[in-house]
Amino acid sequence: MGDTSTEMMTGPRGPKKRRVMSSNNIIIYGTLALVCLYYLLPLYVMIVTSLKGMPEIRLGNIFSPPVEVTFEPWVKAWSEACTGINCEGLSRGFSNSVKILIPSVFVSIAVASVSGYALVNWRFKGSETFFTILIFGAFIPYQVMIYPIVIILRETGGFIGDVTGTDFRLMGSIWGLVIVHTIFGMPILTLLFRNYFTSVPDELFKAARVDGAGFWGIYFKIMLPMSLPIFVVAMILQVTGIWNDFLFGVIYTKPETYPMTVQLNNIVNSVQGVKEYNVNMAATLLTGLVPLTIYFVSGRLFVRGIAAGAVKG
């Protein structure tokens, strides 16, 4: 009896003490620190290298910070590096990339979201089959489709041109490129939107129908405002994908509308004597700036959007 009462007096009382340096925490934060190192290393190397001069690169250690910081490589990558006979650097392609990016992102997301919505809420015979085919399409290497798509674009563009009596062509115009980005964005985006719309309660859709809203009414007034998180996810994925695209940008456009990645490829792949690693790294970072900024700024939304939508099979 005496023991018990002593224990009652001296035993644990009040809030449990938390040890900041518990072995568990050391393991968790230790692991995460190592992981972060692995993920940051290449970025660090790229940044450090892009700020060094060539002699320093040749002698030095790639991990050491620059002894003499120079922004020359950045200037060169942006406005001086040559592609063939044009020596305007990446700047030449930047506005083209933006011009390609905006309609492509917009159209591809619009088509995929409407398709996902139709797949979930307006099923028709065989709709799941079409969806399965789309998913299958995610596995086809893009390059295999280049020629057939060229032919399809040529014929469709020509047909539209004939019908409308104009010079309209899809090949070599930005619209051909928009279509191509829409096609190749379809599988993953439709999967995302379909999964997201599945998680929207069916009753909401029914209520809207009773309220007299039709296909587009429900899409624009009910679904769209509810789906911001998943639109953010889709937007991030598409901005990244389309901005980084080289192949389609170069095949389905013309030199005057070549995106930035074409210049990047030219800078990185054409060696003027010695590989100018610093310029390459600066060019790479400059090209990656847009998607990187988007990730750093809206990364939180991205994760929230995925949590909201992509988790259901």
């Binding site: 790639i62 790479t284 990730y295 990364g299 099979g313």
Partner: protein
């Protein structure tokens, strides 16, 4: 005539044919149907057909040669090496992406500090193109300039780490970069899935005294099946298509040690100007995808049709 009759007649006349019902919905699905049928099915058939022809620089549907391209394909050591590399890369990429992604997600799920920062750090490589990834890692793994050189300068003279220049392990060098780029997205997917799991599961496992790692592996993981499916689709589609990364890092070298099927296809089509052979190789790739995908698609979507 009673109003009921009128009503009946009214609707009877308006009876919408099945095909015209929900016209807007059908109209909206046209792009999807077109893309699925014309592009993915149509182009696949086009590709398969041309794999039986002697198409060189241009598609030549009239030059039928039967299985010739396939015989040639399977006799080429480069194709066999490509397949082997894809199998190694695919296996490890899938396993490592999923397990690294899962472990990182579990660590971040432990309500740690700086979660946002760490998550951003792990995710940012996904924003970069493969060309960039390949280039950065090519450089870090370059024996004269990169890691090996640095470690040797520290005094460990015999340290050797040159995966990109050693034909035996070059594919693992590519794997390092591939994982670096892709595991962040997997981590985010899985983290999202983890957060979607009922908190009560955690309460239950705490009450029962199950260690956290066991809860993750035996309880949480099976509950996340749909997320894993999504993640696997995304990883696997990336694996099949791996091309840019190899080109940027090694161009298939040393020798032909790091060749992959997508690269084989592209180079046969555009370098060797042998479209037929390239199409045969891509048909083989499609076939292997189908073999994996069809049973899965059937299980995943086939059963839910009535839902």
């Amino acid at each position: 005539m009673s109003s009921t009759d009128a009503g009946q007649l009214d609707t009877a006349m308006k009876r919408p044919p099945r095909l015209l019902k929900n016209l807007a919905a059908k109209f909206a699905a046209v792009p999807m149907v077109l893309i699925a049928l014309v592009i993915f099915v149509g182009c696949t058939i086009w590709t398969i057909y041309h794999s039986f022809t002697r198409s060189r620089l241009l598609p030549a549907p009239e030059k039928w040669v039967g299985l010739e391209n396939y015989e040639r394909l399977w006799s080429e050591s480069r194709w066999l090496i490509s397949i082997e590399n894809l199998a190694i890369y695919g296996f490890f990429s899938l396993i490592l992406s999923l397990s690294i992604g899962f472990i990182l997600a579990a660590l971040l799920d432990r309500k740690i500090r700086f979660e946002n920062t760490i998550r951003t750090i792990i995710l940012y490589p996904f924003a970069l193109s493969f060309v960039v990834t390949g280039l950065a890692w090519q450089w870090i793994l370059n024996p004269q300039l990169g890691l090996q050189n640095v470690v040797r300068n520290w005094g460990w003279e015999t340290f050797t780490f040159d995966p990109l220049n050693n034909a035996e392990i070059v594919i693992y060098g590519i794997l390092i970069a591939g994982i670096w780029q892709g595991s962040g997205f997997v981590m985010v997917l899985l983290l999202a899935g983890m957060r979607g799991i009922d908190e009560d599961i955690w309460k239950a496992s705490r009450v029962e005294g199950i260690p956290a790692w066991k809860t993750y592996i035996f309880i949480v993981m099976p509950m996340m099946r749909p997320v894993f499916v999504t993640a696997i689709v995304i990883i696997a589609s990336g694996i099949i298509k791996v091309y840019d990364l190899v080109v940027a890092q090694t161009s298939g070298g040393p020798g032909i040690a790091s060749e992959v099927p997508a690269k084989y296809v592209i180079e046969k089509m555009f370098f060797s100007q042998n479209l037929g052979l390239g199409f045969a190789a891509s048909t083989m790739m499609l076939l292997s995808v189908l073999i994996v995908l069809i049973p899965w698609a059937y299980l995943e979507f086939g059963g839910k049709k009535n839902g």
